[in-house]
Amino acid sequence: MKQMNLLQAVNNALDLAMARDDTVLCFGEDVGHFGGVFRATSGLQDKYGNDRCFNTPLTEQGIVGFANGLAAKGLKPVAEIQFADYIFPAFDQLVNETAKFRYRSGNQFNVGGLVVRTPYGGGIAGGHYHSQSPEAYFVHTPGLRVLVPRGPVQAKGLLLAAIDCPDPVIFFEPKRLYRAAVAEVDEGHYQLPLDQAEVVRQGSDITLLGWGAQMEYLLNAAELAEGEGISCEVIDLQSLLPWDEDTVVESVLKTGRLLISHEAPLTGGVGAEIAATVQQRCFLYLESPIARVCGLDTPFPLALEKQYMPDQYKILDAIHATMNF
């Protein structure tokens, strides 16, 4: 075990994957010698050479298209998109190509082994082009897997599993936590299951559900609620596509209440999908409407970032409203 922050855990996972399997390649803008603008790939070029860890020209559509070709050839590309806000030039390659390779070819070709890593989310004074949470666009795309780790342990285990996964994966890394989240991480090779939510905290009055950087706020809110005698069960979804209905439903059947929180705008967000499913499977057990604490239906701002963010207080107030319905 070793103390690692989220970036070090990602770096460690890439290092282990590249050491074990020489078909694993890491590339993207500034990824090579520099080690990425956040330094997630630092040291990898020195260790594995320029053929396996390198800078690409500045073109996201090129990076993902190139990764598609590489993966179709049987290699395992781990491509970095510098910020999730800049994934959109690659949108066509991801949603029309990456996602549908296997399906459209009758399983003659596939891009399993392809992982796109990208830092997402706000809270870093980045304004609206360095803060977006674009997961919902991809969750609407059959054929992709979408993962969001909440801390170093999850980042490493999920990333290692993603690299071995026979399906293409988009891996959103919460950049607000890159250095802030620190944990004891197993230095060996381990994997976490890709389609399982984790019950992070047991409780009986209400289920709080989130992923990635939101988990910190959910856990803080649960702590505050605990002080008032409200017992919160907290679940980290981890995989948004496919998502683990059973774990969530089981919890809601127990608590009778559900609150979902995400940074992305409310409308058409992943929370809407979960609320619809839970409402159908738990209707007679629900004691109050399902609450959503999300980003506003506006672009992400700069000056009013703090007001925009769905934080622990917004969550706590929504817990009160749900409990007192």
């Binding site: 030039p89 506006t298 701002p301 000056a303 107030d317």
Partner: protein
């Protein structure tokens, strides 16, 4: 221009591949390092007032950059991006335009905006994201924009402005305006798909747009050698059938003259032009970057000697147009004005909560009104919590 699909073609009967270096384009330069004109160079038509205005804009840009980088280090603003070593590219190109010409910039062209008359207060309001920021505190520092000065608001995603410039210029042509569009971008951004789409459309649709590529050698840590192979960005434009000129980006006079002539060409006959300005990004990419991790001090020093402001100052001196005392007084005055503008901007309020939901659509829709109501209650509750 020959079109390989139908025009007269030259036949050969031995395969001869043209390689990426087959096309080398010379660099247009007027001023020698000592500030004297090359013997066969023609001096651009510039009067003293214009020449000094360019000089002052470059100096002001550098002083503003120095001060705001320091302000970032002191934690007073969250981010900054300087244009050290590239002042001539932005200022001299903008100086060759008319006020009605539209500018679409990347993010390292504060000099162009400053030369157009953006005030220190306007710069500071944007940098401090206060209620008087024309962009209403929504974007990171250095994402300026000003309708009045025909400077379109900067967007962070790289190269998206390139096809937009093509479209804007086409609109100018249709409207019959004697105006052009100038679009700045870096050699890194020229790798994006939008660059290729924008250039090809401009060539085919004959739009009066000047593509101005600042080839400063780096895209964050990525050197130009890992960005493209072949003869720079200029040869790409030639491939699209676009008139192209490579210019020394640290030569104020050459940049001015290149842009002036490009504009003249397209007013005579609507068509795009690409100017590739060769220079060096002397500073860090941004306040979040440290170039010592990817390039040597010696390399930086070599370029420091080719400072565009220094070379131009020498020329102004030879011309007898620069009075040193006056120059010093002017710079000192500017430093003071920058500090004063910064203090004023720092004291202003943030934009109001309403600004979150405004401008998303032309009018605030019902669902955003509801979200704002909820947010106001939440905000009041949070303030109470903070006080407690």
């Amino acid at each position: 221009m020959t079109n390989p699909n139908n025009a007269t073609i030259t036949l050969v009967h031995r395969a001869r591949f043209v390689d990426g270096h087959g096309l080398t384009i010379p660099t247009f330069r007027l001023l020698k390092d000592d500030g004297q004109l090359y013997a066969d160079a023609a001096e651009p038509v510039l009067d003293r007032q214009q020449a000094l205005a360019m000089y002052r804009s470059m100096v002001a840009t550098r002083l503003l950059d120095e001060r705001m980088l320091a302000a970032q280090r002191q934690g007073r603003i969250s981010f900054y991006l300087q244009s050290l070593g590239e002042e001539a590219q932005a200022v001299a190109s903008a100086a060759a335009l008319a006020p009605d010409d539209m500018i679409l910039a990347q993010y390292r062209e504060q000099g162009a905006l400053l030369h157009r008359g953006f005030t220190l207060d306007q710069f500071m309001n944007q940098l401090f994201s206060n209620e008087d920021d024309l962009g209403r505190g929504r974007q990171m520092p250095v994402h300026y924009g000003c309708r009045e000065l025909n400077f379109m608001t900067i967007s962070s995603p790289l190269a998206t402005q390139i096809p937009q410039a093509t479209g804007y210029a086409y609109g100018q042509r249709l409207a019959g305006e004697a105006a052009v569009t100038l679009c700045y971008f870096g050699e890194g951004a020229a790798s994006e798909g939008d660059f290729h789409a924008g250039l090809n459309m401009a060539a085919v649709l004959k739009t009066p747009v000047i593509f101005f590529c600042r080839n400063n050698g780096y895209a964050i840590s990525t050197p130009a050698s890992e960005q493209f192979v072949g003869d720079g960005i200029a040869s790409r434009a030639v491939g699209y059938g676009i008139r192209t000129l490579r210019v020394d980006g640290a030569d104020t006079l050459a940049v001015f003259e290149a842009t002036r002539q490009a504009r003249q060409l397209m007013l005579e006959e609507p068509q795009p032009v690409l100017i590739e300005a060769m220079s060096y990004r002397l500073g860090a990419h941004s306040s979040s970057d440290d170039p010592s991790g990817y390039r040597s001090r010696a390399e930086e020093e070599r370029w420091r000697k080719r400072d565009p402001i220094g070379r131009y100052r020498l020329w102004l001196g030879h011309r007898g147009w620069l009075n040193e005392d006056e120059d010093r007084r002017h710079s000192d005055g500017l430093r003071r004005q920058i500090l004063e503008a910064m203090k004023r901007a720092e004291q202003k309020h943030k934009p109001p909560l309403e600004s979150l939901v405004e401008d998303v659509y032309a009018a605030v829709p019902r669902h955003l009104e509801r979200q704002l109501d909820r947010l106001k209650k939440q905000d009041a509750a949070n303030r109470k919590r903070e006080r407690a």
